[in-house]
Every structure is written in structure tokens, then in C-alpha cells.
Symmetry: C2
Subunit: 149 residues, 2 copies
DNA sequence: TTTTATGCAAACATTTTGCAGTCAC
DNA sequence: GTGACTGCAAAATGTTTGCATAAAA
């Protein structure tokens, strides 16, 4: 199976589960389902979408509460990252994706990932200038994609 | 009275009201209250906070619905900008503030504004590279402020 | 006098929580 | 067996909408 991370899913899952149990938490079939969905999806999924995909792929309704709770759990363990494109809905992606920022099309909603080393460096300088101890950042550029122009 | 825009509030209000009526909309005392609160506040206020400030300063309860509707109205006229720091609550600020990005302290919530020409230029290049017609962007750097380190 | 704005409450969408039962370790 | 997890429904949060009334132009 193809995936954008260029690593084997089984290796990934094994490692992921080990991290969970190492920290004293318990694994479950629901967590596995969610991980598999996140791993093989390119897009940044909402809780509702994750729930629907799990239902579709595995014929199980794990419930939206479980999705939210699991995502919050993964987030706290830094295994998943939250993406907020400003439409009031949370989207999630695996942290194994290298850091990147987002271009969002304001017409069709398409999301393109990018990184820019210059900007990254400059952000460090900005934080330093204001005596902030930088932890993270989000940068989202809004515009019209090629198709929507 | 001091304010960060270095312009006179009465001039600002007069101009603001003119823009509203020029576009065929009606002015109101509620809009004036909200504008005065926004003008003299440094912070980026939520709808709830704006409502509370109006109640406190003018002893009038204009209602949360009015605040939301007015902010959406101002936003559509590009008189106000929406700031989303990713906590699921909308914050607003006047557009007369020059464009800037934000540093947010993850401990105390302090927000510091900044601009960086280098980053701005680089964003234009990034958009161009991906064939996006750039409209806007948000960039928020998260970290610990001096006091919280 | 006509159109837009207000204010209340009710509706809405998304996310969180309480709790009893279940499962992983 | 114990602590963590699940699943349902109910609650909470933030925001929007319907509608009758009021106010601005």
C-alpha cells in the first residue's frame, strides 16, 4: 500500500503502540482503526470524517466521542497535530509528517502543504527579538488556487 | 485619550460612519459603542468580551447576537479583522491597525504583535511557486513569553 | 415609509463530559 | 483486579438565525 510517509505501516503502528504503553496508557482496537485511517489519508481529516471513514472501512461505529477523546489523547502525546484553517472545525494529521505550513484555497478549500526554510529561520529570529521561547508556530496562506482563479 | 493608532477617535468614528452610510447601511448607537471599545482596547477581544465591556462602560446590554452580527458586518466591509489563535474562539481587531502577525504565549495567553517584511516577501514567493493567487495569511508563533519562562 | 438593525430566545454545530459497563495489561 | 477506555446520551460552548419590534435614512 502506498503512503506519503515512506515508511511501513506495520512498523509505524508497532512503534506507535509501544509509545502508548510505555507511557502507561492502554492500546485498543479503536486507536488502531483511527491510526490506520490517518496513516493512509493524505488529507487533514475532521473528527466527523475520521468517524465516517472508520465506519466505512471497518463497519464499526466507534462514536464521535471516542474520536475526539482519542485525538486529544494523541495530541497530548504529540503523536498527532491539530490544524485549524479558521473555519471553526478541527482537522488532524499525524506528527510523523515533517513540519509544514499550509496554503488554503478560499474558494474550493484545497489544502497544499509547504515548507520554507527562510521563513522558519526568520521566525526563530522574531521570537528571539521579543524574548519568546519559541515552541511552535502556524502559518497559513489564503488565496485562490490555480483552478479557482 | 491615548490609543495605539495615533489618530483622533472622533475623526476615526466620523470616517467609519461615513463608510457605512456610503455603502447603504445604517449607523447605530450599538455600532458606535463597539467601535469605541475596539478603538481603545489594545487586546484582541472576543465577542463575549466586547459585550461585557460595552455593558461595563455604557451600562447597556446590546446582546451577544448584536455583537456577532455587527462584527460579521464590519468584517465584510473590511473594517475589522478576525484573529484565530486556534483556541476555538474568534477575536476581533480594527483593520486600521497595520497588518501584523502574532506571538502567543502558551502559558499566560499574552499576545504580542509583530511584522516582518522578510517573511511577508517570502510568503508572496511561496504562493507564486504554488500558483496561488495570494489573498491573505495568518502566522502565529507560539512560545513562552519572558515572564513565563 | 421603507429598509436595515436590534434584542430576545430558540436553533445550530462542534466539542466535551458523566457515567455505567468493558477491556487491556 | 485495577486503572484506563469505550459508547451512549446529555451538557456545554461558541455562533447563528427567526421573528417581531424599533430606529435610521
Amino acid at each position: 500500500m502506498e503512503n506519503k510517509y515512506e515508511i511501513d505501516f506495520d512498523d509505524f503502528l508497532k512503534n506507535f503502540k509501544k509509545q502508548i504503553s510505555n507511557k502507561g496508557y492502554k492500546n485498543s482496537i479503536q486507536k488502531d482503526y483511527i491510526l490506520k485511517i490517518l496513516f493512509f489519508m493524505d488529507e487533514h481529516l475532521t473528527a466527523e470524517q475520521i468517524n465516517a471513514k472508520v465506519k466505512m472501512e471497518y463497519n464499526v461505529d466507534i462514536g464521535i466521542a471516542t474520536v475526539y477523546r482519542t485525538m486529544k489523547f494523541f495530541e497530548e502525546l504529540n503523536l498527532v497535530e491539530l490544524l485549524d484553517i479558521g473555519d471553526g472545525v478541527k482537522r488532524y494529521e499525524l506528527s510523523i509528517a515533517l513540519h509544514h505550513d499550509h496554503l488554503v484555497c478560499t474558494s474550493c478549500g484545497k489544502i497544499v502543504e509547504f515548507t520554507d526554510d527562510f521563513i522558519e529561520e526568520q521566525q526563530i529570529k522574531v521570537a528571539k527579538k521579543h524574548n519568546f521561547n519559541l515552541k511552535d508556530h502556524i502559518m497559513t496562506i489564503y488565496g485562490l488556487c490555480e483552478d479557482c482563479q
